[in-house]
Symmetry: C2
Amino acid sequence: MKYALGIDIGGTEIKIALINRSGVIKELRRVPHNTPSDAKTVIDGLVNLIISLLKSAGMSIRDLEGIGVASAGDIDYKKGIVRFTPNFGWRNVPIKKYFNRYFKIPIVTDNDANAASWAAYCIEFKQKIDNLICVALGTGVGGGLILNRKIFHGATGTAGEIGHIVIHPGGEKCNCGNYGCVEVYIGAKYGYIVNTAKKEILSGRKSIITELINNDFSILTPKIITMAAKQNDSLAIEVLKKAGSELGIALANVVNLLNPEAIVLAGGISKSGKYILDPVKETIKKCAFKTPAEKVKVVISKLQDKLGVIGAGCLILYPY
Amino acid sequence: MKYALGIDIGGTEIKIALINRSGVIKELRRVPHNTPSDAKTVIDGLVNLIISLLKSAGMSIRDLEGIGVASAGDIDYKKGIVRFTPNFGWRNVPIKKYFNRYFKIPIVTDNDANAASWAAYCIEFKQKIDNLICVALGTGVGGGLILNRKIFHGATGTAGEIGHIVIHPGGEKCNCGNYGCVEVYIGAKYGYIVNTAKKEILSGRKSIITELINNDFSILTPKIITMAAKQNDSLAIEVLKKAGSELGIALANVVNLLNPEAIVLAGGISKSGKYILDPVKETIKKCAFKTPAEKVKVVISKLQDKLGVIGAGCLILYPY
């Protein structure tokens, strides 16, 4: 059995896992990532963690096909460098070189959304299609494109910014500096979903959300709204439907432009299941051309928050 | 010198040309295309035209590398079939088979926007970049994607529908059934540009357009508005700027999503030159991410309405 080590470096947590070609995790470790951080110190810490993880798995570095590193930010995947990750305070970090000092095995690096889409493609769709779009719904909205069976990077490696498809020109302000990006309406950090629900309730709308949060709006999250939706709360269902429709508008554009076989939703609000998925599908059906809209399969990832670390391993196990 | 025969089948005209690898046209014929039409009759007519064209060029069919056919509509490029072109009334026309009955040389078929983008890539950019987007601005708005040095078709061959990127959800109705597609604001058939100018003038706005059309709005075209802009007419400049900005919103999405090295504008309103190009560039700069926005080169095609027929020849001369 071939194994790779996958590393997913996120803004709050770093995951390390032993992955096989079926995407199965043999060992997984999670460590907090306090950002901004010093890249060299972080990597030195990871090296010790890797050694300990291999030991507890009864393996040695020679049993690995290589190490795949998925990181947030702007990555030079050809050179194995993290060019810029504002959240970490990292600039021009030679990831590949750092790891190669300790481990003389193949090291590859790519953007976390790209790694996630590669996992969705290699593991969830078993490389049986040609084109897949992965949408990482989290604090922001990331995206990865698999086009013609390969990760598509574009000219400078920034392709896939699905979160910054403008769906309402002149709309709400986005952190990117633009207005009306889909991320504003569905990214957790903007609180649009929560605020919409809050506003309706404060203006007198009845909802079991009020009970669930015991009238304390500071604890209201999309998760709680989903709980309310599952109890058939009409406001909760409506709010999630609106969010799903907004995402659907952006994805209808993607469907018309790229005509993919699959769109995989992962992270955050995708955990609301059908309450998000159904309006996404309906909007694509309504807004995109018939043939590509009928062709595309829109699903919620089963691997969810492990997509990144499994994808990191897949960067090694499924050369691209 | 290698030559191919390019055929561009449009809704009002068919172009046939002898093309070399530099994209130079040695012989060109244009014939009207009265649609709806009977595909077999049209192709039989083209066969005679090809024979006459070769004769006048002092060449025989054996001097050709092959025949490339670009057609509007939904094309199965792998099988050489026009699946559906509503404007022509064509359904499942085996183009390759029809031509192969007469000419035993390679025949390839692709969508006209794809062929145009292939010409822009092979001839205008000499294959020196990896990713190029071609936007065909005509009665509608078509698009072709060159990704990783190949025409990108997507799952069912419909990729590249740039005209149907929604820029104003719930906006003006588009022929595709959806609302607020960019095509509505810049495609000639919707008359948005002309109508905006007309409305302003009728509401009392001074403009030399009034003189240019001798007060007859039925003859007002984007070309006349461009003439007025060249004479520094503020309304004309404003109207074209608005149209360019609308296109820019859609293209900023494309830049964020695909991070291409080049965007080539061709046809119709692109002939307004800087009056359209400048606002397109400004909007991309304003709306897209810094790195991909700085990377992308937005230009107006020099080959213009010959892009399709040259691209058809390139389908043969530059295998893809």
